[in-house]
Assembly symmetry: C2
Homo-oligomer: 140 residues x 2
DNA sequence: TATTGTTATACTCTATAACTATA
DNA sequence: TATAGTTATAGAGTATAACAATA
């Protein structure tokens, strides 16, 4: 019982499996993926508000509040009042957080990096392009 | 504050966002992604045991037990004793389940299909290749 | 004794709704 | 009145550990 090809289903399944597999891995300090991703955003873009982070990650504000608080408790980010808008909060990487990002990135034996390193340049190119396309899909 | 390119981080973020975005969509009967994925496997490969499904989906057996039970309650799959091995269970699509798969697939306005349809053939090719690579990553 | 599946339990992530504070 | 963030609550998904049944 084999049905016709289903690129959509194949892609859905592949994304789901990959996301689950990646989630099962822990970077440096045992940080879960959503938390580490926030650190990556802050490292890439500088200080951001929880609202901006929620938009970037495409999650609802309460989810980001929780993630940010978790990181703050670990001392990896700091929350500060917004200079001009009392409603907003500014989240920034601490020294510890910056070190955590860089240390994790430096460790080339990080699981996903290891997987990519084992691939051919052409395959890495495909995945890099796919990353952009997936990002676009996620923003639709 | 913009750091050096980080293909690994970009890919991780993209996969996470895409998985979350896809999960937020509901196919035909409002079926969640993990459940629909099991239907796709059964439709593709025919009847399977919970253990086989767990291996295919890279989840632990208890997770699959739960998913299969949910589908059985909905009448989309049926559980039957294995003909020769009393320990095993055979899960198969019911008529309703088959109809559900085909109806969902036929609806081209399914969210992800719509996204793919809006892309260029080249972009679809990249994603199709990426799906294979992601599958390989997930199995590592 | 090893394997298949299930039950029990707990944790993480996410969402919606309601609330507070500020603009 | 609108916006940013938080708190409260709930639900989905997954995992590990322990158990039952069968090989």
């Amino acid at each position: 019982m084999t049905s016709a090809p289903d690129p959509t289903g194949d892609l859905r399944i592949a994304i789901g499996q990959a996301a689950r597999r990646i989630r099962a891995e822990r970077g440096g300090a045992g940080l879960a993926d959503p938390q580490y991703t926030v650190l990556l955003w802050l490292n890439k873009s500088g200080p951001l508000t929880p609202g901006q982070l929620a938009d970037l990650e495409r999650v609802q504000p309460p989810s980001m509040t929780r993630t940010v608080n978790c990181l703050a408790e670990l001392g990896l980010v700091a929350k500060a009042p917004h200079p001009t808008d009392g409603r907003q909060v500014v989240v920034s990487l601490t020294e510890t957080g910056t070190a955590e990002v860089e240390e994790t990135r430096r460790r080339r034996n990080t699981w996903l990096s290891g997987q990519l390193d084992a691939m051919t340049p052409e395959e890495r190119r495909v995945l890099a392009e796919a990353a952009e396309l997936l990002r676009r899909i996620a923003q639709a």
